[in-house]
Symmetry: C2
Subunit: 186 residues, 2 copies
DNA sequence: AAGAAAAGTCAACAAGTGTTGGCATATGCT
DNA sequence: AGCATATGCCAACACTTGTTGACTTTTCTT
């Protein structure tokens, strides 16, 4: 056991940071507020993470953990994917942190791109889906739009959807984005 | 002609405000930067608009101008709607201002709700579409997600879509959200 | 041309920001 | 035990923010 006490406050800072970044966005989440939540002094945050930027980088670490899609029947692709994404969104608040901050913070936007283009595209490629990048982009529009309306804007009808209803509504959309031949270019 | 000179700077301030709010979000768009863009003194902004909040309220005035849908054939609803929304988005940067700010600013979020629930729902109701609120919410997820990925996150594959390609991809999605019977509730 | 009103400039304020260094306390090793 | 090191707190810094009031210049009426 190297340093037990410091590890605990380190973790407390990170948890508070995620909470604040997720609730307030990058600029409105102040070091002082995060430190207060973690019940320590603001200077501790600097000692442990160096700067606000680096703290954010640590708080926004995320992996979407894409499942492999080889043996999923084509017409169920959307269902599987939507259910996975919704669950991922509910269990790990890091994605919400990213969404809230990516709009005004370039580093967060870059990480968002890595997740939704950089992680979806190769998965589709391995599943022998043509034009994987375009399809990843389209699915990102639907997935991120859903999260935006549900967790950030809190549009009543979207907040009220159950997981099953969500899958029933969005699943076919995603399936189509994955299987429909690309429209003719002009 | 009441006051010509003041009207011109008033408009210059509003234009600069829209630019900055749209590019930087609410908190990072400073009064000083807006004033500099408009080539006037920061105190002028206060004299004309009272406060940053009120300036923002003026800059975020928006009407989505929904077309009536009575005599659009059911299977072309999505096509018509998507084309209208994309055009609206390209011609009026106010929507981009709203999107960039709604994530961290409650007033902007409220206006977003008014636009996408408050203006879509009654239009669908007048077109005799059942469950108009849920369908408005679903369409908001797809429309806002598209805008987020294209104008804010700038995901390459989404930025590269032409208007026609966008309509071809998203049109059927929106049509389905408008015409598909609601899935069974649990 | 004289004076009032409008338009614009300047400097400062109070508050809040990220960040830093000095100093106290606790912890663990020998 | 004593000491070095890790951990923590305090006060202050330099800077930026929205906002204000006093002052000067322009514009227009009469």
């Amino acid at each position: 056991m190297a340093e037990k006490k410091s590890d605990r406050t380190r973790a407390a800072i990170l948890a508070a940071a995620r909470e604040r970044f997720g609730a307030d966005g990058y600029e409105r989440a102040t070091i002082r507020a995060i430190a207060a939540d973690a019940a320590i002094d603001p200077s501790m945050v600097m000692r442990y993470y160096g700067s606000k930027e680096k703290l954010f980088a640590a708080a926004a670490e995320f992996d979407v953990r894409m499942p492999e899609l080889h043996d999923v029947p084509k017409e169920r692709l959307g269902e599987v994917l939507v259910r996975h994404l919704v669950e991922r969104w509910e269990e790990d608040d890091t994605l919400r942190v990213l969404l809230r901050t990516a709009v005004t913070n370039e580093a967060a936007a870059e990480r968002m791109r890595q997740v939704f283009i950089g992680q979806l595209t190769p998965t589709f490629q391995r599943a022998a889906i043509d034009q994987p990048a375009v399809r990843a982009g389209l699915i990102a529009t639907q997935a991120l739009g859903f999260a935006l309306c549900r967790y950030i804007l809190e549009l009543r009808p979207v907040v009220d959807l159950t997981t099953d209803e969500t899958v029933a509504w969005l699943g076919p959309t995603v399936t189509r984005y994955l299987t429909e031949p690309a429209p003719n270019q002009v």
